[in-house]
Symmetry: D2
């Protein structure tokens, strides 16, 4: 229990790292959205390993197949199933891990919760599980773009190296997905050193949503930021989330943190309400306020490191462990698209829920 997410645009995911396939059923996707395997593959390729020396050298093609819910290039309104078959998984690498609890991993907690676990490559708790999220995110993103909503995530920091300037086009040009050419160079140097030390790095991913209409979010529990917070923390390796000024707001005064409203005129003289600052990060009372949504997410260093670690096995013996296999020294760049995906799924779902907030919209559809 726990592999279903969303209220209207609902996704249901399955699959273990070394099982037959990983995939997702999307229920509640509106009909009439143009959708192809290429649309989805584009996002999957961004999370694919082996893209640079900073990600695992494992070769995984991760090709997706649409199995249902799309007819003649359009979504039909019925359940969409998309999956990626696991092809290059070598299970024997993991046999010696069957009885050992790797530090930082979910081996111990799965074993205790369920009394059994598929230990191969982390089983269900593997990062490969995010394939299903990226697929569903790609579908949501397709719809959101048509609605004028744009979601971009990028690397804000790697270990101690923070970006200092912001050029979103730069992201695709460096393997760390940082919007700052110089910071990216320094960060690459930092990670290269960690690779030499058989160690790993973490970082912060930022996500910005533009074009979101005012009114998205369902108080008092399914607030926009509350829903996104859950979405983010549901991604393995995420240890914190903040919106707008985030934790920094705790040391501000009210007169500083309040964003003053003003009236903005566009070139045609059209007047709209805007804010002079955005400490709120685009959300007031759990509802989007028309400013850009700003969210930061803390990612822990990869738990799988090659250096020697102390741990415990199933028989409650203390043992030494050297995790073999091919691991990412850093998952941050590959996690960027996962953050975007979970944001897209959550926001599209809330936009569909918001459709019935006003009775005049109900009459617009049925009138």
């Amino acid at each position: 229990m726990g592999s279903i997410y969303g209220d209207i645009f609902r996704i249901s995911t399955f699959g273990e790292s070394h099982g037959k396939a990983i995939g997702v059923i999307i229920d509640g996707c509106p009909s009439g959205i143009s959708l192809s395997e290429e649309d989805i593959q584009e996002y999957l390729d961004r999370r694919k390993p082996g893209q640079s020396k900073f990600t695992t050298p494992r070769k995984e093609e991760d090709l997706c197949k649409i199995m249902s819910g799309v007819f003649e290039g359009l979504t039909t309104g019925t359940a969409i199933m998309v999956m990626v078959e696991n092809t290059s998984q070598i299970s024997k690498d993991y046999d010696k891990l069957a009885d050992v609890y790797r530090p930082g991993h979910a081996d111990y907690t799965y074993q205790e919760k369920y009394g059994i676990r598929d230990h191969r490559g982390g089983g269900r708790s593997s990062g490969r599980e995010t394939i299903a999220r990226v697929i569903a995110g790609a579908v949501a993103m397709k719809a959101l773009k048509e609605l004028g909503v744009n979601i971009s995530a990028f690397t804000q920091s790697i270990g101690p190296v923070h970006v200092r300037c912001f050029d979103l086009e730069q992201c695709a040009l460096n393997p760390l997905y940082m919007p700052d050419y110089e910071a990216a160079l320094v960060a690459q140097d930092y990670v290269s050193r960690l690779i030499g030390e058989k160690d790993s790095a973490g970082g912060i991913i930022s996500c910005i949503v533009r074009g979101l209409p005012v009114g998205i979010g369902e108080p008092v529990f399914d607030k926009l930021d509350a829903v996104l917070a859950k979405a983010m923390l549901s991604i393995g390796a995420v240890k914190g989330v903040e919106f707008g000024a985030g934790f920094a707001v705790a040391s501000m005064k009210g007169s500083e943190s309040n964003d003053a409203f003003f009236v903005k005129k566009d070139e045609n003289g059209k007047r709209t309400i805007s804010k002079r600052s955005n400490n709120a990060g685009g959300v007031l009372g759990g509802i989007s306020d028309g400013s850009g949504l700003i969210m930061n997410v803390a990612i822990k260093p990869t738990s799988s490191i090659s250096s020697k670690q102390f741990t415990v096995n199933k028989e409650l013996e203390e043992v030494e462990l050297e995790v073999g296999g091919r691991h990412d020294p850093l998952i941050v760049p590959r996690a960027v698209v996962v953050v975007e995906a979970m944001a897209a799924i959550s926001i599209f779902d809330l936009m569909l829920r918001n459709m019935s907030a006003r009775f005049e919209n109900v009459k617009k559809v049925y009138g």
Copy 2:
């Protein structure tokens, strides 16, 4: 839509700041739990205003009434309704706010989302809404205590003033609910100064959960930390949440952040698995790992400040605003019990969901 929370222990809340009452229906509470109005009142009194000069001088007795679901002192397994009637709300104070959007508040977003809003005291987006959460939290807490689970939240920082030592008993002795006598004095001085400046302060609340069994949390989406993150961000004024080392983990190396497992022996020679550090904050792969759960929550300064602010009204005119009324210069101490309540509701719900994780537990109940 959005006033229902939880999957098995499900709460449904209602009520506006200046409406007739605020309350909650709790559906799915197990039968046979001893419950009285006093049990609940104890928690409500902790969020009650007027407790010190650092909270609003409004007098609100906030007395709760159990309306259903309890018979002869025990929960019956049917829906429990508890409410607090609004008695001392003076609506006319707020009449001049009917058309003005207060900075930092949800006035503008509610108006845009619904096309109508109850402007009196913030209506549904008022902090008084948390009364319903505290009621439900008190019920969950009653059950959790019997199961050996203990939840304590406290003030970690007020503005720039952080606690430096940790004595939980100290919390009840100072009006700021800080576990550090000296820090509390400094913080009181800081807030007193802000009151003089007609300004307000924020802070960080920490929450620690002890006694949680291993295995709580439902991956891949309803992970323990994911569910708690949503619970926290659903509280008005919260702008961020982190677990264990939280945002600090982003700049650690994997060899630092991984918590090593070891085997602990108790006085009777019983061996259990434990961790040498707790950067994970008690959760691995979204499931409790038997260590203390550690969570920090960032609270923004009270948005209602008495000093002059610039804003906009419904007619899209820029206006000056001085928020009158009786407001908290600081909501952190009153929010502590709300954090505990939302943690309790979420954790008890996940414990009930976990009951069916193993078939051997199903057989234990039906055998």
Copy 3:
């Protein structure tokens, strides 16, 4: 667990027969619907006891109070709470029933399920629980009428007496709510005789929905008829439900039961698809087909009868029982409005869900 119903227009009910109050929170009701206590009271008065000699002579005023979610006569989009305080409940009447399991009632099953029960007047399993349903139904009905959807239920049969003609206006003119003057007379005679015998009667309620747009219902599980079937069977005393030709369809041939489509022209020459018969009862593949929705519901005779019965008590002793109190010899006429209410709630919820079925509707709202 089990007192929450619906997906978007979600209702959460509470209250025992002899508790302090019975009521409902409606979450997800669109904003901007005009709503008053009178709108609701009109429906409550139809289920009120004491309307004729065929219903219980108990005096229950059942006056409703709107406690939240309505501001200046309009729904605000936030949770609506409405309740009826219990005033005339005399608990001592029921004391002798504390340990006895009445035949046909839920006394035994509640006791076994929860280990405790509020025995006064049936507690949570009392027919008074339907007050909450009627309240929520009245709200849904208000919205449905504005959308052109009309729901009418009536008494199809009482015991062996079936209606033979159909004049809906007749219903309000006889105490049994039958659309056939003569059948109503015969049925009144039948029930009068049963009253003399300290016995009770059952019957069939039919419900017709007109004006429902094509397309309502969410296959494959939340089909229009499936959702309505659950709604009906959730009403106490209902033992069966059927749509269109219903059980009779089982003995038809395909060539008889298939409803042929044809093209209907209205006075303006507008062509629409219609059906020559309606064995399907207005639903094809779980989706409304534009014909009138037809549903029949079987109601068992009132379980509380004054004649002597054999039963068992909590101590597993066989005892004789004479149920005192003031009971309906027949609940069918009072259940008519409950059937309408549950149909209204279910249909309005499905209409809201259907809003996002097509992406063109999503763009209509956000465009």
Copy 4:
């Protein structure tokens, strides 16, 4: 929206008649249940076409593959995905149906709801969709059997031919799955005649559940019978459902329909509460009462008949239609296992929900 079913044991289905595959994700299945593809195939083979001249001669092997959630023969507690690839579907047979609305089918309503439909073989509204239900039902059945719960459905009537005696073992021996040898002969004769007339037949399926503990069902909305009613009506071709005496109860008197309780002693002198009759069908107040659960389901005649029919096409023209392809003259025998499957899924889900009804059970699991 609508392809997810259940609250704890939650299933999510996908697949069109002529798409690549049909299948299901089961989320929330407890860990530690032994499960193989053979366990599931056994049930799929019962719904497989081509078993006799009374079912479609189409050859569909319908072999299932477990894709996730099972490790070394045991469920792991994580999402179980099982699918059947579509192999023998010949789409061109259906090309001429692309624009025609078949009577009795969902062609018209899907087109109107979604603005697009996969017309091949009925697309998502095809009877092949029940493959996913049978798979999930097989898994639930595996667990239920270990808990002592036994579910058996059988054919009660075919057209006008009703069974008169009841020998469950007889069912497997005749192609109509009737528990009465003679009735089965008469019914076969009846259907043979209809085949000659290019017509089709309907019938009634009965389902009996034995061994269900007292206490299953979650009032006031998720009552055992309410949940089952939805489950049954969600199956295509079902037009009605009734419990115990069902519609017949409407013409009984209370003194007849009430089932008297008595105390039953077994050979060891153990005393339990039992009922002298079972008009209630095993459910009181929406909760199982320990008697056998009895449910009848009305199945309409197959809508696809080979004789000429009048209908309408997408261009609103009236046309004549002869449905070609290979169709069942009768789906009742193949639907028996679908009824069992939906009953099993619903009952197992309610049993898992009931685990937390009493706090003493919560303590049993965590104590």
